[in-house]
């Protein structure tokens, strides 16, 4: 039986899954307005008007949820020298040759980039979304500015979706990862393989 290491506390995990739920809800309702081929998604929310009413609130809850995650995790996501070394070998990793990857801490360069992409996209989504939040805020924003806002909102949403696809894929790809968010623990073998410096830190003094 492999020994387990605590990777996330219960609060971290609930915070994460709250964001994930809100991402799905805000994402599906937002896509309904973005492409006519996806308008059917609005029916999941009770029709177009309800999707329009609910979308901003779900988006706002996602941002608030992420603010909690940001406070918890931003320090762990500052890029350091170990990440720069890891980055040089990212191509090898993607080609399936994960043997020679330099050791990294709690998060590798790819994870950190996903984190910061989410921070940036959510900030943009929040600011631009408020600018054309019908009917509350639109009266205070000029139409030319709203046009910029809708375009930036769509682009930021795509960045967030792209980052999330990578995030989910990496969790599926790297075996033993998902349990970190469902149970809070990972095996020592997983930690040694994927986050050797974090493993050292966690097992120091044993």
């Amino acid at each position: 039986m492999a020994r387990l290491l605590q990777r996330y506390k219960d609060g971290d995990r609930m915070n994460h899954w709250f964001i994930a739920l809100m991402f799905v809800l805000a994402g599906l309702s937002g896509l309904a307005f973005f492409h006519p081929g996806l308008f059917f998604l609005s029916h999941l929310f009770g029709g177009g008007s309800w999707a329009r009413i609910l979308h901003p609130f779900m988006g706002l809850l996602m941002v608030l949820g992420f603010a909690g995650m940001f406070v918890r995790l931003w320090r762990d996501n500052v890029v350091n020298d170990a990440d720069r070394a890891w980055k040089q070998h990212m191509g090898d990793m993607l080609r399936g040759n994960k043997a020679g990857m330099p050791p990294v801490g709690k998060y590798n360069y790819g994870q950190k980039m996903v984190f910061w992409a989410m921070v940036v996209s959510l900030l943009l989504l929040l600011v631009t979304g408020v600018m054309f939040w019908q009917p509350w805020f639109t009266p205070y924003v000029s139409i030319p500015v709203q046009r910029i806002a809708v375009l930036v909102h769509a682009a930021a949403a795509m960045l967030l979706v792209a980052a999330t696809i990578m995030h989910v894929y990496a969790a599926i790809w790297v075996k033993g990862t998902v349990r970190a968010m469902t149970r809070g623990t990972v095996t020592e073998g997983w930690a040694r393989t994927n986050h050797a410096l974090w493993h050292q830190e966690m097992t120091k003094g044993r």
């Binding site: 492409h35 006519p36 177009g48 994960k98 019908q134 046009r147 375009l151 075996k175 040694r192 393989t193």
Partner: protein
């Protein structure tokens, strides 16, 4: 507002397949507003609210004749009054009947995300089917003329219908019927362009060298046109000189849509094949346990 099957739909918002448009011989219509004949009586405003059963809230006097001071969800046409000096020391009082221009290439329809909430009929009229409106305000961003207004009561967008219900049964719009000076005419687009040009020529003879027809080509021409005394300077009456759908809106509701959807699907498909190619990353089951 109205849904007239007799007026064939040639364009429909948020719809990716062709609409029924077998009847191609429907004549294009247009309303021509001759600013030089307008006396500012506002009979057109009254006729509009009468025919469409609209009653706007009583507003406040803002110190000029404009009443209400701007288009609202229940005032689909408004007389706007302009005191201008096109030439130094030469005061002119210009009056413009504001309302939807019924663009040949409607920005509202391009921006609208709700299927069928905005349609364009074969005769050129652009109409809002408000029961499909979801209140997002995208039409407001799409419009180059700042025409659609969202109601605070029901969160639906409203604007002039060009009396599509009257035109559909062979009547002219209510404002045209009521205009006491003949400043508003209605007919086929070709006839109205010809008549508008003739009126502009007459104005030129009377000394308005820059008289002309306002039928902006940036939006493919409009089904509401103006005869102007100063057609070189439409901004005198608060109209854009060369209107077109904002490039931001064209990008957003044009190439960005398929690209983004393809990108999302592509990312998932790429992930799938990547996994199948290189397989999962599993923990090293190395021997030097106890490091």
């Amino acid at each position: 507002m109205s849904n007239m099957q007799s007026l064939d739909v040639v364009a429909r918002s948020a719809t990716t397949t062709p609409t029924p448009q077998v009847r191609t011989a429907a004549p294009q219509v247009a309303k021509l507003i001759d600013e030089s004949k307008c006396i500012g009586c506002k009979a057109c405003q009254v006729a509009c609210m009468n025919w469409n059963d609209l009653r706007d809230d009583i507003g406040t006097n803002v110190g000029v004749y404009d009443n209400p001071s701007d288009l609202t969800p229940s005032s689909w046409t408004v007389m706007k009054f302009f005191e201008v000096e096109p030439k130094e020391g030469n005061l002119e009082w210009l009056i413009r009947k504001d309302g939807c221009m019924h663009c040949e290439d409607p920005g509202c329809l391009k921006a609208c995300p709700s299927p069928g909430a905005i349609v364009k009929y074969a005769n050129g009229i652009v109409d809002f089917h408000s029961e499909h409106c979801i209140g997002c305000g995208y039409c407001v961003k799409g419009c180059p003329f700042d025409v659609p207004r969202i109601s605070e009561k029901d969160n639906k967008a409203y604007k002039c219908t060009l009396c599509s219900d009257r035109v559909g049964v062979g009547l002219e719009p209510a404002c045209v019927k009521t205009c006491p000076t003949g400043a508003i005419s209605f007919g086929t687009k070709d006839d109205m362009v010809a008549y508008g040009n003739k009126r502009a020529d007459e104005l030129k003879e009377r000394g308005f060298q820059q008289a002309g027809l306002y039928n902006p080509q940036g939006v493919g021409g409009t089904h509401v046109m103006y005869v102007m005394k100063h057609a070189d300077r439409p901004e005198l009456v608060d109209l854009p000189k060369d209107p077109s759908i904002s490039p931001l809106v064209s990008l957003w509701k044009g190439v960005a849509k398929p690209l983004a959807v393809a990108g999302m699907i592509g990312a998932v498909v790429a992930g799938f094949f990547h996994y199948m190619k290189v397989g999962p990353v599993e923990e090293k089951t190395d021997e030097k346990e106890g490091a």
